[in-house]
């Protein structure tokens, strides 16, 4: 596929999505345009509503208002499974694997969404079913190989170390043949080496699978390095969008992360008072 043309529809487009939990406005008028093969970031302090945005996009929560398009298709209000079938895959912040299934079966299960054979074909084992299963297994093994965990294929998913569980989640997401991939904190809890590896992997995924990627991450180094466009959330409100340089200069972003000058002055005064009191 050639580079994204301006007139081509965005891979994922959200328009003023809002969601309230009771009186709490968890997400307020969230908009986002993720171009085809784009790599964008979603950042914000803890509790800003980043994962809630993911849950809105993937259909776990239904937005109160706003709309969401995947390519040409409207997907807001659909079930998560239908949205996944339409081409949106995700990973989870707190890893959610099929623990007692084997690593290979975790990926195969996800590949099943692209199979046409239903229950009766499976029970009769028709030629189409056999061909599809073989194709899914083959692709699943290639995915595992690409993520470097093929040697674990026969093991139980829950017996994998943390880093490999994260990779398995990505492999499973890719098995659904997505057009858009949402990664929720892909490098959380990883060491420097693993982070470097994951960064290379994320960029490789885009080229290999022609997929647009949106990622949530607290590791600013990673986000600033690889994301073309960054959206900053605070208390459910989008406070800034733009490239890394622009975001870093934005006073609102600095305020959200570091607090206001008045806060700092007050903090200083308080600590000074504390120090005086202690002396």
């Amino acid at each position: 596929m050639s580079a994204a043309i301006a007139s081509a529809p965005a891979a994922l487009e959200a328009r003023s999505l809002s969601l309230s939990f009771g009186g709490l406005k968890a997400v307020d008028k969230f908009s986002l345009t993720l171009p085809a093969r784009g790599l964008c970031g979603l950042i914000g302090p803890n509790g800003a509503g980043k994962t809630t945005v993911f849950n809105l996009l993937t259909g776990v929560y239904k937005p109160d208002t706003g709309e969401c398009r995947l390519g040409d298709a409207r997907v807001d209000g659909l079930k998560p499974s239908a949205i996944a079938a339409a081409g949106l895959a995700r990973t989870f912040q707190n890893i959610r694997l099929f623990g007692s299934l084997s690593v290979l079966d975790n990926v195969r299960t996800a590949g099943g969404v692209r199979a046409r054979s239903g229950l009766f074909r499976s029970l009769l084992r028709t030629p189409l079913y056999l061909a599809e299963e073989a194709a899914i297994i083959e692709r699943s093994l290639e995915l595992l190989d690409m993520l470097g965990i093929a040697h674990r294929a026969g093991e139980q998913a829950k017996s994998l170390p943390y880093g490999e569980q994260r990779k398995l989640e990505i492999a499973r997401a890719l098995a659904t043949e997505p057009k858009v991939l949402l990664l929720d904190e892909p490098v959380a809890g990883m060491n420097t080496n693993e982070k470097r590896e994951m960064r290379a992997l994320i960029q490789k995924l885009r080229d290999e699978f022609d997929v647009a990627i949106l990622l949530i991450e607290h590791d600013m180094g990673l986000v600033m390095d690889i994301c073309e466009n960054i959206t900053v959330l605070d208390h459910g409100v989008t406070i800034a969008t733009g490239n890394a340089a622009k975001i870093q200069q934005d006073p609102k972003v600095i305020e959200a992360y570091l607090g206001t000058t008045e806060d700092a002055v007050a903090d200083d005064a308080a600590s000074a008072a504390g120090a005086d009191g202690g002396a």
Binding site: T58, K79, P80, S81, A84, A85, A89, R90, F92, R96, L97, F98, G99, S100, L101, S102, V103, L104, D105, R108, T109, A110, G111, G112, V113, R114, A115, G118, L119, S122, L123, L124, R125, T126, P127, Y129, L130, A131, E132, E133, A134, A135, I136, E138, R139, L141, E142, L144, D145, M146, A150, H151, G154, Q156, S159, L160, A175, E177, E208, F209
Partner: protein, 412 residues
């Protein structure tokens, strides 16, 4: 990376071998059933032949529950209710059908004669009627889980029992002929039970259905459909996120389980020496079936089959102890659950256990691999240049810094 759709062509299987592969387990099952009927049953005598029959019915019941309870993780404790629905539907057809066709509810025709065909038709009717009720019971499973779903299924079993108890007396052949087939629907014997059902259940038929249920359960387990069910059991949110319609999958599992339970109920209803009454297929029976599934390992077909057989034979073996029979049975259960809380095999099949591998030197295959699949893995050329089987067999290098990574394989 190539998509699944682009790969299908190169994995095409010729129709001939596929038909053979599809049918041979069924043909083998029929052969085994015939062998059991013709050779084993006369040898072991009528008492143990009856035990053999009961084992078969227990396997049908437990394996069908295993589909919804083991694979899907939907805790259903009203499974005997489906057996009751199926059993009564089938008994109605064979009893009143016989009267209308031949004027008497007695056995009619020999092997695969008219009576046997009517019996097989009643099995189908039972399956369909039970499957429809399964659809009805499956719907609450979309909103409820765990204990709450268990209560709903329990309630379903009780409702079925009460409904059957409210039916009128069984009609005599003369009355039934006067009433016409439609007029006999309410006459199922009430709380006294449905007497006079022709006893068509034979070892052959029972084990043909055992073969069908077990083969279907196994094929379900290793298919995408079945793995979707296992995924729902493991993590529903994640299952939805990879495109599995959890609602559909759950209801499907209820329908399929109920279909086979209905057939199990038919076999039970037409068995010599049992009476079809609401008490026999009540809560106690449901619990018995649940115990078979839990003991065998939720999700393990071979485990559940073995548990069903063992738990049917055990009370018979302990008959000599008379008064201590049930306490011993209960104690044995408690001990097994303490020693192996995940059941005999957990989610695995017999051939996936370490003991089996050690004895038969088989490769460490994960659950859900068929010979065909592995053969194709071997053939497929992969990026690393290694056949798929090697990838699966190869053990990861031991990492001393992470002792947690090599936990016991039996954990589940």
């Amino acid at each position: 990376m190539k998509r699944v759709a682009e790969r299908i062509a190169q994995h095409r299987v010729a129709a001939g071998p596929a038909v053979v592969a599809s049918l041979w387990p069924l043909i083998a099952g029929i052969a085994i059933a015939w062998f059991l009927q013709q050779w084993l049953a006369p040898m072991i005598g009528p008492f143990y032949a009856k035990v053999l029959l009961d084992i078969g019915i227990a396997i049908v019941a437990a394996s069908s529950l295993n589909i919804v309870n083991g694979f899907g993780g939907q805790f259903s404790i009203g499974h005997a209710g489906f057996m009751m629905v199926g059993g009564y539907a089938a008994a109605w057809l064979t009893y009143y059908g016989s009267i209308h066709l031949w004027g008497t509810p007695a056995l009619h025709g020999g092997f695969l004669g008219g009576g046997d065909l009517l019996f097989l038709a009643s099995c189908l009717l039972a399956g369909v009627v039970a499957a429809l009720t399964g659809l009805l019971v499956g719907l609450p499973s979309l909103r409820l889980r765990g204990d709450y779903l268990a209560i709903v299924t329990l309630g379903f079993g009780e409702i079925m029992r009460v409904l059957v108890q409210r039916t009128g007396d069984v009609m005599s052949p003369a009355e039934a002929q006067k009433a016409g087939l439609g007029g006999t629907v309410g006459a199922m014997g009430g709380s006294l039970g449905f007497g006079g059902i022709p006893t068509y259940t034979r070892i052959f038929y029972v084990y043909v259905f055992v073969a069908i249920v077990v083969v279907c359960a196994y094929r379900l387990k290793i298919s995408s459909q079945g793995r979707a069910l296992l995924a729902v059991r493991e993590n529903e949110v994640a299952a939805e996120s990879v495109g599995i319609n959890t609602a559909r999958v759950k209801v499907q599992s209820f329908v399929m389980a109920a279909f086979f339970a209905g057939i199990g109920g038919t076999l039970f209803a037409h068995e010599l020496g049992t009476t079809l009454n609401p008490r026999e297929l009540g809560f106690q029976k449901s619990i018995d079936i649940v115990i078979m599934v839990v003991l065998g390992g939720m999700g393990s077909i071979t485990g559940v089959v073995m548990a069903a057989a063992a738990l049917t034979v055990m009370p018979e073996l302990f008959r000599g102890f008379a008064t201590y029979r049930m306490p011993i049975y209960a104690l044995a259960l408690i001990i097994v659950m303490i020693v192996r809380p995940q059941g005999l095999f957990g989610i695995k099949e017999l051939w996936d256990t370490q003991l089996w591998r050690r004895w038969f030197h088989r490769g460490g295959r994960g659950p859900g691999h068929t010979p065909q699949a592995i053969a194709r893995e071997l053939r497929s050329e992969r990026a690393g240049g290694e056949p798929g089987r090697d990838v699966i067999d190869r053990k990861p290098p031991m990492d001393p810094s992470q002792p947690e990574t090599r936990r016991s394989e039996d954990e589940s």
